[in-house]
Symmetry: C2
Subunit: 222 residues, 2 copies
DNA sequence: AATTGTGAACCTCTTCACAGCT
DNA sequence: AGCTGTGAAGAGGTTCACAATT
């Protein structure tokens, strides 16, 4: 969905980037993190490609939509490219995240240390069940959902995670938008209605298992 | 990646189905489950489309790759189509799943009741940490990883979930393949090397947060 | 000699538009 | 009249292949 050459519209404009491109950039970034640890200073598109199961042309095209980061004959400078990707992806800072719904998924996400490690801090979580309020999990307090706006403002949170039952997801989404949240990770298996300028990503683990079920049943790979 | 009309190759052949098509079929199935509960008997492609944020042509094309399930002038029979999709997706049975790695993600998945609800039973889990062995979680025993082959056979498990650190993922994958597993859900952020006929799905929650980070940083939607 | 950056070709998936049923 | 099923057209994303550069 790249409308035009992004280099000519750097950081501006309403251009839509394909989901797959952003995911690939994230993976390139991880690869760079790990090879940087090994002392590698330059990496060719071919190597970056092998690690991520894409073609080298894909890597070059992906990177070239954001700038000319490589040196012909040498490849890409590992540290430099890593930093460029961090700027592009917004990984050169930490993000405050609020979590709504402390049921099975919610608790699982709180236990999942990887988010913090990747720069995303769950600063507060919310539920409507009075029995859950107050009992902090892993040092993160559980608040009543009504206190959402205050706490979002207080923590400067910019990302919301929805981990409530499907029927409540849209309502929770609306409240998050009211509180100023513009980016949502939704674990409820339902499409959310949001205005322009708000990004929603969907995480649906059951659907991945169903894809495996399909593959085993049909004998086709997916 | 639909090679040819699937109706003419029904259930046979090495045809590859696009990831997005399978996911849409799963969503259609869920929609049918919920409208079936409301007593609706026929549903038009337009309605099915609205629930899932796709076009009605997309719905018709998707379904028509597997058969002629609709009645012109009326739409699709809810119950009939639901059953067809269950057959196509392999959701007309239960699946036995083994989970490898009882760290944060592993425990989270065990706590996540949705899998069982959708027909996937985690029948055994595995770890290499002797301190964890034996202590069952939610009635599911934790075995030593060495016992994997026996228990896979014993339970007739066909799906494996990998929830171990990145460095061990490929090794665990190989052992799962040795044990006869042909479908894997991998939570480690690394591409797995597998032979033809094996399906791997990747689940990477951090990458979704990074996509949100990108959207907020760049002002572009994803 | 090696590797990037990129226009063009290619391929896959989505949407259009309408013939064909009910 | 209403809706499906589908060939054709369109859009978007990927790969090819080569000129440009170090």
């Amino acid at each position: 969905m790249i409308g035009e050459n992004l280099k000519k519209n750097n950081g501006r404009g309403p251009f839509c980037i394909s989901e797959s491109l952003v995911k690939r950039l994230s993976r390139y970034h991880r690869t760079l993190e790990s090879v940087a640890g090994l002392g590698v200073t330059y990496i060719a598109s071919r190597e970056l490609a092998e690690y991520n199961w894409v073609t080298s042309a894909q890597v070059r095209k992906d990177l070239s939509s954001f700038g000319n980061f490589g040196k012909r004959g040498m490849g890409y400078p590992v540290e430099g490219l890593k930093q460029e990707l961090e700027q592009i992806l917004g990984l050169d800072r930490r993000w405050s995240v609020v979590l709504v719904g402390v049921g099975n998924i919610g608790r699982a996400l709180l236990a999942f240390g990887e988010f913090r490690h990747r720069g995303f801090d769950i600063v507060a979580c919310f539920d409507i069940d009075p029995k859950k309020i107050g009992h902090g999990l892993r040092g993160i307090p559980i608040h009543h959902f009504d206190d959402l706006p205050d706490l979002v403002k207080q923590h400067g949170a910019e990302i919301g995670i929805i981990a409530v039952p499907t029927v409540s997801a849209q309502e929770v989404c609306n409240r998050l938008l009211d509180a100023g949240i513009r980016a949502i990770l939704n674990f409820a298996p339902v499409r959310l209605e949001v205005p322009d300028g708000v990004t929603v990503r969907y995480e649906d683990m059951s659907i991945e298992l169903e894809a495996l079920s399909f593959a085993l049943t049909s004998g086709r790979s997916v």
